[in-house]
Symmetry: C2
Subunit: 525 residues, 2 copies
Amino acid sequence: MGLDNLELTVKRFNVSIGESRVVMNSADAEAVGASPHDRVKVAKGDSYAVALTSVAESDDVVGRGELGVFSDVLRRLPLREGDRVTVEVIPPPPSVATVKKKMRGERLEEKEIFDLVRDVYDGMLSDVELTAFVVSLDHHGMSMEEVEALTRAMADVGSRLDFGDYLVVDKHSVGGVPGNSKDALIVVPIVAAAGLFMPKTSTRAIMSPAGTVDTMEVLAPVDLTPGEIVEITKRVGGSISWAAGANLSPVDGIFIRKVEYPLSIDPESLIYASIMSKKRAAGVKRLVLDIPVGSEAKVESFKEARRMARNLIELGERLGIETQVAISYGGQPVGRCVGPALEAREALEILSSGGRGSRSVIEKAVAIAGMLLEMGGAAAIGAGEKMAKEILETGRAYEKMREIIEAQGGDPDVKPEDVPVGEHVAQIRAKSSGYVAAVSNRAIVRIARAAGAPGDKGAGVKIFAKRGDRVEAGDPLIEIYAERQSKLQKALEVARSTEPVRVEGMVLEVYRDRTIGREVLREAP
Amino acid sequence: MGLDNLELTVKRFNVSIGESRVVMNSADAEAVGASPHDRVKVAKGDSYAVALTSVAESDDVVGRGELGVFSDVLRRLPLREGDRVTVEVIPPPPSVATVKKKMRGERLEEKEIFDLVRDVYDGMLSDVELTAFVVSLDHHGMSMEEVEALTRAMADVGSRLDFGDYLVVDKHSVGGVPGNSKDALIVVPIVAAAGLFMPKTSTRAIMSPAGTVDTMEVLAPVDLTPGEIVEITKRVGGSISWAAGANLSPVDGIFIRKVEYPLSIDPESLIYASIMSKKRAAGVKRLVLDIPVGSEAKVESFKEARRMARNLIELGERLGIETQVAISYGGQPVGRCVGPALEAREALEILSSGGRGSRSVIEKAVAIAGMLLEMGGAAAIGAGEKMAKEILETGRAYEKMREIIEAQGGDPDVKPEDVPVGEHVAQIRAKSSGYVAAVSNRAIVRIARAAGAPGDKGAGVKIFAKRGDRVEAGDPLIEIYAERQSKLQKALEVARSTEPVRVEGMVLEVYRDRTIGREVLREAP
């Protein structure tokens, strides 16, 4: 015979287990009718949080009359040790039915999507339910109406940047190509130097060795509040900050951290909603999206890239964000450095030298900056790229970058060679002479991550020879940097079991009519 | 610069959170390079367990040098407070790649499936990974080869019942029809009375108001060890016990408890593997599978039932279990009682009266028992049902049931009226006179569960009028039993918002050519 609610005494567990969860004594759980998986409402006065139930297996951790509260709950409902709270079993929220609906492949209504996103934000769904939702998105997809609702809902639950009537521009890459995290470090100062507002917000690396904010963080703090982002951007024209730190589209981070990253999945509907919800929350009005295409990139075919481009432009229209797409070459890493510190160095070298360095980095950054200058009205149509190049070559971009670094709290006088990189270094050299037939995105990513990137900022890979380059036997192909000897060893093991740089003789392609279709054909370098 | 492993002091958390998880101090986690989601190997001497990592947010719960260990880990690696253990970050097990492979819809190899099942048993997979696997089975299915491997693997990781050369028979219902949990309470004593061995093992209710063991538990303990099941079955011919308690196919329970139940899914490949792995582990050689078919049953069409029957017979052949399938009528509840105590009463009444009571229960039980008598060689082909009926009517089945109850530790002299049922009772009465057009499986399940079944043994529903019965206005249609007033109220709310028993005038069906397809057509009663 049970009670409908219980008054219990809070015992704080300052441990994050990833779920909003409380622990009850078994006698109390039985009295109030709470089984594992049940949700309880934990209330103190007018405030409450919803939590999943665990049952203590003995009285020494949570005694009768006590309620163990994990920090995932404490973040939502601040409670002190010894506080009295009431606990009551409640039915699953309607968003659990929404998860099941998407599992069956059905279309979701706008309200269902908004409620679900709110519940994810409030910690109302278990990891199991969250996973089922994301895996089902991966399997069944979403209509454009659903993606639009998801994007709006994700932007709405977090902070919004308010730039009033100012025109805000931004760029974003769908990613998948190593070495690309430095792109924003060149584009933002060019665009800001031309007088436009570009509050670049980004995520940390998920599966790559470096995200834009991992790389920027080498030069300056990136964990800015919404107010700081707006103030800095208005003052110096640009900023590069961490979207999650400013609580922009916070549910995006939950999906990524809890499900997408551990399972290495990236459902298309969530790619769109992830990008566009952050841009909407940041108040962006003009956007360039970069879709790198190539072997072992996230997007491997032009057909796929064009389809994504059409969808993103349509989604932008629905959201009032004028969007242009640049489909870029993604068949090998961008530039010659991969990993946060190495890429920050490479960006600083290009900026401070007025545009000397890897052509693949510079041409791409200038092209994207040029599009933004035109979209933002700073350059006439057709004149953007030339203006961007001038801003870079005259050193104005470098000056602007120093202002941005200083505004964010970094050292504007930092020189490329001051940036610390891993002290454990090893080279992979060419076994024979020949031409570079391919630099493998996938192998470079695996090596850099094994070396410790992005967690160890100084870890990464330097690439000495790129597609089409002539190398002699014994020439260095790549150089691996690590902060720990053990990780360098692991990276070397990966390098030996993969082929990061493939060197072949002069004859790079063989076509035989009779065997065509069985050969793996490669593009000319 | 980090260490490859750390020695830490155990701090026990006697709380089950459902995942094999440990908590490290943030300084220790950083030193050893452990991030959330990383797996660590926790070793003491030659023994070790693998656990997921959580990081304490302050030092008061897990200080530097300490390791908080949840009971999910302690069950695998018994540790005392203050024990010294080494902790080392390890890469994800290969079964994580197997999960991802099934997410992509690919076929799994036998070895991949065996490793995965072993890792699930050992707690090596996170809830997120486990969910992704089960949801992907629901989306992509499995080939018969994969199901066979899954079934063998699930049986192999747990206990096996050893009956030597004795012929062991059993029955199992795929379920989905309320009131069916009592079937085994009649079939087992009939078959055992004929001299066959029938160690019926079963699960608790998942989505239904009563599973076979929930109902048996009203009469006798069901949590038997493998040794007790074998001993009792050899001594009295039959037993009805809890498969999970005897550790038969333990991974089945993990899939159900952690994913299938919370998400209300039941992937077909897991239905097969769940049933057959338990039968294989129990040493069953001849099996009758009951597939109830009807509106609102788990299986709604004969076509679907026949397909499942073919698959289960093939799977049985692959496993060396001779299998016959009975497709039974599942369009309304079986018998007149739903819920553990009410069904136990109904079964006892039928047994003790020599077969008086609800025809739907008796005919089905006798038919299934007859099939088993023939398959087990106790009756000639075609003579099984008659023999089963005689065993029931002469009271031999009741005598055998008393032996079974006593052998399992229950009171053999229990009378039907001694079985305690919920003291809070309410009736739903007919608003008008007419004929019963339908008794809704789904509504009866929801009402019985809202009333507290199967957790509250005395909760449930009694059904007074079934399909085709004539009722007068004011006649009772159903009676709801609950152990708590609040649950009776909830059950009544469900009863009012559904239509558990539909009463209509003499004209039960209306066909209009022009509107056909828009009418919901019903079978005649």
